[in-house]
């Protein structure tokens, strides 16, 4: 079921320019197209969210509209976006721990574009172990170059990435361990709950908590939010401070068709429709044309896909 989330879009008030000046903060509110200008061909791009939760769909679709190429995508589990990005020809390599829906309604089916590309050898698959992935961002945000784990031996995944998983001996116990490096990608794309116009972001990501780590570990951060709110409302609750954020875009329903609890839930029907379309390259291209290229902005996409009223969108 989809909750009826009717956003009230934000207007910057005069005081905020004053606050900005006093606190030395810059106005970071942009539209989608401006926000994504900093992403270049060949960048490593981390995607926030997990599975069907808070995937940065609006930001990613804009990447596709901008025609970016040779991206190295890094994300724990963002199956829908992996598949669309790969199908659209934006991806050089994919570093992930899982690419599937794991759902009784969508099946445990493998993602069609992803499969075609990996099986056809057109993208490089860098399989990772989920726990290492999480730790890579954990140490990435702490400024630590690597850490070692004793509990990684035996998996064939290790041998597929000798440049990533490195054997090391504990200087304390002489134990054999595996070292993994920090992640510090070029750009992170994150969809969050709220931010102010300066790019101070409130995440509230119960049960998962990876987006905050991704934001701190990445060189640049682009955030879309359900709502821009007055600066005062976020004081003391900010997860990502403004000086880490390059741009913030107000995109209600910005994670649709994945969920952003409690605003809206997963649209399983649309994801089913996507999976069906993606089965063949030709029907995938029709999906891309209809839902990405012919939609000038995210609200048009959401309205076309599920008929929800999303309000105006910046840009």
């Amino acid at each position: 079921m989809i909750l009826k989330w009717r956003p009230i879009l934000y207007n910057i008030h005069g005081d905020e320019y004053k606050i900005a000046k006093e606190l030395g903060m810059q106005q970071k509110l942009k539209n989608l197209s401006e926000a994504l200008e900093i992403v270049k061909d060949g960048n490593s791009v981390a995607l926030g969210g997990v599975l069907n939760n808070r995937l940065p769909v609006a930001l990613t679709f804009e990447l596709i509209r901008r025609g970016l190429k040779n991206l190295d995508i890094i994300s724990l589990e963002a199956p829908f976006l992996f598949d669309v990005l790969i199908g659209a020809g934006c991806v050089r390599s994919l570093d992930t721990a899982y690419c599937g829906f794991a759902s009784p309604t969508l099946g445990f089916a493998h993602m069609p574009c992803f499969r075609r590309a990996v099986e056809g050898g057109t993208i490089q698959m860098k399989e990772n172990i989920g726990d290492c992935f999480i730790l890579g961002f954990e140490i990435g945000r702490l400024g630590v170059p690597f850490l070692a784990l004793r509990s990684l031996s035996g998996s064939d995944v290790l041998a597929t990435r000798p440049e990533y998983f490195k054997p090391i001996r504990s200087p304390y116990t002489e134990e054999e361990m595996i070292a993994i490096p920090a992640y510090n990608p070029d750009v992170a794309l994150i969809h969050a709950k709220q931010a102010d116009v300066f790019g101070n972001v409130l995440l509230e990501e119960p049960g998962f908590g990876l987006d905050e780590k991704i934001a701190f570990a990445s060189k640049k951060v682009i955030v879309s939010v359900e709502q821009i709110v007055p600066h005062e409302q976020l004081l003391g609750r900010v997860n990502i401070p403004h000086f880490l954020v390059s741009a913030v875009v107000e995109v209600p329903w910005g994670a649709y068709p994945t969920a952003n609890h409690p605003f809206y839930e997963v649209d399983y029907r649309h994801l089913e429709k996507y999976l069906k379309a993606a089965r063949e390259p030709a029907t995938f291209q029709s999906y891309l044309k209809k839902y990405v290229f012919e939609c000038p902005d995210h609200s048009t996409y959401v309205e076309l896909a599920c008929g929800a009223v999303t309000g105006r969108q910046g840009g």
Partner: protein, 258 residues
């Protein structure tokens, strides 16, 4: 006391068997919880193990979901949770040995309990690219009791040698582990591992299934002990809870039971 059910289907027996692997105040990891493992955990909690806990990939600690999740990471798994620990902390709890039991599945399983969820064929140019292993390659070492499950027991799943070891079973290249696969539960039988050879051994066959049927559907020589018991059927209470309280919409039937 509730007696055994006379009228039940294979999915109900399967779930009751999974539920029985969670005992007392066990804390379970239901990483890819959908839907069988979560139903089994809820069933254990409603019956013999009211104090058991769990964490799921994107959910809270010990949630009280009002409905079943429709995919891994469904927000219903945040409802009523004791805490919303981040994933890094949850995995840390497993590294510290605070979790007792975990369920894992995969597309191929061999006699040592190695599991493949990565590729059929070669890694670089696979015939079939599978979704990948998520965190299982480390988790399989961290949790004392790892239960492998597969609703489809056939020679395509139970192979002599997996094409790719995503989650390592009882093999020599493992240098450290706290636990590992102790049981394998399928739609035909329950298997465990021989203490000496560390190879898979038949433990019990489900009611109505013969030993030959299990042997014929296994692609390697399963150790057959002198005495093979029959799997305990679900109780009337378990079947009633599954059908009428936990999964009235029958989501459990979406996983293939042949």
């Amino acid at each position: 006391m509730t007696g055994y059910a006379q009228d039940y289907s294979i999915d109900e027996l399967f779930i009751a068997t999974l539920a029985r692997q969670i005992q007392g105040d066990n804390r379970a990891i239901l990483a890819v919880e959908v839907p069988l493992c979560l139903i089994a955990w809820l069933l254990a909690k409603e019956t013999h193990a009211p104090d058991c806990g769990c964490w799921t990939l994107a959910g809270g600690l010990d949630p009280k979901p009002s409905r079943l999740p429709l995919s891994t990471g469904d927000p219903t798994l945040i409802e009523g949770a004791l805490a919303n620990l981040d994933l890094s902390t949850k995995v840390g709890l497993a590294r510290l040995g605070r979790y007792d039991v975990m369920f894992l599945s995969g597309v191929q399983i061999d006699k040592f309990g190695n599991v493949n969820n990565s590729v059929i064929g070669s890694f670089d140019r696979p015939k079939v690219r599978l979704p990948g292993g998520a965190g299982g390659a480390e988790m399989i070492h961290l949790v004392p009791k790892v239960i492998l499950y597969r609703a489809k027991h056939d020679i395509k799943t139970f192979v002599g040698k997996v094409d790719f070891v995503t989650y390592p079973g009882w093999i020599d290249t493992v240098t450290w582990r706290r636990g590992g696969p102790v049981k394998v539960i399928t739609n035909l039988a329950i298997m465990d591992f021989d203490e000496e050879s560390r190879q898979m051994r038949l433990k019990s066959v489900h009611p109505g299934v013969t030993v030959d049927q299990v042997v014929d559907n296994t692609g390697f020589a399963l150790i057959i002990p002198k005495r093979v018991t029959e799997t305990e059927p679900p109780t009337r209470e378990q079947v009633d809870l599954i059908r009428n309280k936990i999964d009235p919409e029958g989501l459990r039937k979406s996983q293939i039971f042949n």
